[in-house]
């Protein structure tokens, strides 16, 4: 899923302090799972903003809404009828949802209420970690199913580097060395032979390096 984290509320207040009709817009998908932008967080953020305006003696309305998804036309259209009532939307979906909302409601300022962090997993409640950088050309078949692009601090394709120590990465004792994980896993599946060959220079043109990306699937287009 896409993992996001809450933005400091002071930052959000700075965006909206001059507005008077605000919609806090959540999303039921990834950001709900990572507890940054679901219905519960919409409620908390909206109350905080209401409290701020009350303390300032400002007469501002803050409404709440959580959509099934903010990255789909269908669901975003659900606020078509009410959108015009607002002079600002604070979206706490991921960066994708925030942008799609902004694209759809062209004349209303849309502000981000979260920092979108990475593609990752819930390791345990309250701990999310990165797994993929969407490089567009997946190499997991060669690396025992562990991604060096997203999980090695230097995205080394022929690791581990000289800083790998007791299973941890040179940059932090709290971080697994991706290449230690890869070796362990290759051993477990009896494919250490995959380690023996140099991984060739990667084509990064499918990564962000190649410019904004598109997936076009004519077979499923209507």
């Amino acid at each position: 899923m896409i993992v996001a984290d809450k933005k400091p509320v002071e930052e959000i207040i700075e965006y909206v302090k001059d507005h008077s009709k605000i919609l806090v817009l959540g999303c039921n998908e990834c950001v709900t799972v990572c507890e940054a932008g679901g219905k519960k967080e919409v409620g908390i953020l909206a109350s905080t903003l209401r409290m701020y305006f009350a303390n300032q003696g400002r007469d501002a309305a803050v409404d709440e809404r959580t959509l099934e998804r903010q990255c789909d036309h269908e669901y975003l259209e659900e606020i078509r009828d009410i959108a015009d009532q607002y002079d600002a939307i604070v979206s706490i979906a991921c960066g994708v949802g925030i942008q799609f909302t902004a694209e759809k409601y062209l004349s209303i300022p849309v502000y981000p209420g979260v920092n979108t962090c990475f593609l990752g997993v819930t390791e345990q409640r309250g701990l999310w970690t990165e797994r993929c950088q969407a490089c567009g050309n997946c190499i997991l078949a060669y690396t025992g199913g562990i991604c060096p692009v997203s999980r090695c601090a230097k995205r080394i394709l022929n690791g581990p580097c000289g800083g790998s120590s007791k299973g941890t990465c040179e940059i932090s004792k709290d971080l697994d060395c991706a290449w230690q994980l890869i070796i362990d896993r290759l051993k477990a599946i009896d494919r250490l032979d995959l380690y023996e060959k140099m991984f060739p220079i990667k084509d990064w043109s499918t990564d962000r390096a190649g410019g904004p990306r598109k997936v076009v699937r004519e077979d499923v287009q209507i």
Partner: protein
């Protein structure tokens, strides 16, 4: 192995002598005299001088510019290049730039992560990794081709090397990884500083068993401790460094004013023991901010005078 490039370092080792290199860290400023003074201390005592590339991710004068200063002084440089700061366009371009000054040695590294340095908020590049950079440099030299496939007019003539850290984890893949680097084209290997000699000897033996010591020149890395504090720091704070307890103890048991001398003694003993190893073809003496000690170490370790080769 016979020499394939004009590199003096390569010729010396190809002739069967132990090679000796040291290093010169570029300054945190643009004063060329600091470079010249440091390099002058090493003249005649080593075959080539490595020039570090923004080591520990701290901004310094560029490795290439510093190498050119050395070259103009008649001292043979080893251009260190990390893959952290430049993509494949810049790396190839700098290799050509170095070649245009007849810099004949290249050491390919991934580089310390930028979080260690003075710009922890910067991006890193890592378009290629160190092994792929070795491969690139060899392609440029041997095939006379860019990565893009076009011909290079006057291809680089470089003796291409890489680093190896026998002490990093997991130990079991350290020799396979060395094999991969050699396969990629590494003609010499400079190792991480050696304090755990038993482990190093085991690594060399495993490399020898795979025939790797006949395919590349392994240069053993040594760094003299200046103080017991430095020994402790290296043991506890430098990732991938293996300083055994008895070495730290030997330093701390020495009175403060004698510690520097003891550090040098340990370094010389290390060289003397490793000289006996068949698989070791040279020494890389990294006297960090202590270049003035290098001549003494080289002499006392029996590596002086340096062979003359044309």
């Amino acid at each position: 192995m016979s020499a394939k490039t004009p590199s003096k370092l390569e010729k010396i080792m190809a002739a069967g002598h132990l090679g000796v290199t040291s290093e010169c860290g570029p300054p945190r400023g643009s004063d060329p005299d600091t470079i010249r003074e440091k390099a002058e201390l090493l003249r005649g005592y080593v075959d080539a001088v490595n020039v570090t590339d923004n080591q520990t991710s701290v901004v310094r004068t560029s490795s290439l510019a510093t190498c050119i200063h050395l070259k103009l002084m008649g001292i043979e440089p080893v251009l260190q290049m990390v893959t952290r700061d430049r993509n494949r366009i810049a790396l190839q371009s700098d290799i050509l730039g170095a070649a245009s000054f007849d810099i004949f040695n290249l050491l390919c590294l991934s580089g310390d992560h930028q979080s260690f340095g003075d710009n922890p908020q910067g991006q890193n590049v890592h378009d290629l990794d160190s092994m792929q950079l070795v491969w690139t440099a060899r392609k440029m030299r041997d095939e006379g081709k860019f990565l893009g496939g076009a011909d290079i007019k006057r291809p680089p003539q470089m003796f291409v090397g890489a680093a190896a850290n026998p002490f990093a984890d997991p130990f079991e893949i350290r020799v396979p990884r060395l094999a991969k680097k050699i396969e990629a084209g590494a003609e010499f290997i400079q190792t991480q500083c050696i304090y755990n000699l038993d482990k190093f000897e085991l690594w060399v033996k495993q490399a020898q068993d795979r025939g790797l010591t006949e395919k590349t020149y392994i240069m053993a890395g040594v760094t003299p401790f200046k103080s017991a504090g430095m020994a402790k720091y290296m043991k506890n704070r430098v990732p991938g460094m293996d300083v055994p307890d008895d070495v730290v103890k030997r330093m701390s048991d020495t009175p403060k004013e004698k510690q520097a001398e003891e550090g040098v003694n340990i370094c010389i003993e290390t060289i003397q023991r490793l000289k006996e190893l068949d698989g070791v073809k040279g020494f890389h003496i990294m006297a960090i901010e202590w270049e003035e000690m290098v001549p003494d170490i080289v002499k006392r370790a029996g590596l002086y005078p340096r062979p003359e080769i044309d």
